[in-house]
């Protein structure tokens, strides 16, 4: 098994973990963390699969580079929205889940 495939498999595991976290966590900040882990997992899978036994592939690298920057913007926007929700409703969870702040 080559190193690249190992990272791709890790990416798959991280993706599934992030997905489970996004479904199961109540706290919005934790959901944002789970979303980031999910994203990192898919990036790892893309790059790892592109690198199997060959020269480094620039196309997935460019795609993931844009992905990383978009992910940080999405994180910041999500944090701003969560903060707004907190100041309006006093809770850090979505309607339907039990209230949490900290």
């Amino acid at each position: 098994m080559s190193g690249a495939l190992l990272y791709a498999l890790t990416g798959g595991v991280l993706f599934a973990m992030g997905l489970a976290g996004m479904i199961l966590q109540k706290h919005l900040l934790r959901r944002i963390l789970a979303f980031n882990i999910l994203g990192s997992g898919s990036f790892l899978a893309l790059i790892g699969l592109g690198q199997r036994g060959g020269p480094p592939d620039p196309v997935p690298q460019a795609m993931v580079l844009t992905g990383i920057v978009v992910a940080v913007c999405a994180t910041a926007l999500a944090l701003a929205l969560a903060r707004r929700l907190l100041s309006l409703t006093g809770t850090m969870s979505l309607p339907g889940d039990e209230d949490v702040t900290d």
Binding site: T10, V72, T75
Partner: protein
């Protein structure tokens, strides 16, 4: 051989930090573990011959995501503290609450 061992250790560490970041009870610890996860991910990009990604991950993980998340955690802490003070003006201590 050594390099494969390095990859395996790094992969285990990535999964472990991510898992703990999702599972630990305290928010602050989970953010700390996530920051560690980001730095390990930069090492993974380096191993995957993708220095462009390692650069971006290092700059964004160390310079931005960490600051954003820590700021959000601090904001939550301050609100929590203000609320406790309101409920509990004499400042009686409540020990052992998870944060």
């Amino acid at each position: 051989m050594t390099e494969l061992l390095f990859d395996a250790l790094l992969a285990i560490a990535l999964v472990w930090t991510a898992l703990r970041a999702l599972l630990v009870p305290e928010l602050f610890r989970s953010v700390m573990l996530f920051i560690a996860f980001g730095l390990l991910l930069a090492l993974a990009w380096a191993r995957l011959d993708a220095p462009d990604l390692a650069l971006a991950e290092a700059a964004i993980g160390a310079g931005l995501t960490g600051a954003l998340l820590l700021d959000a955690v601090g904001h939550l802490h301050r609100i929590e503290d203000a609320r406790r003070k309101q409920e509990n003006p004499e400042g009686r201590e409540r020990r052992g609450e998870p944060s």
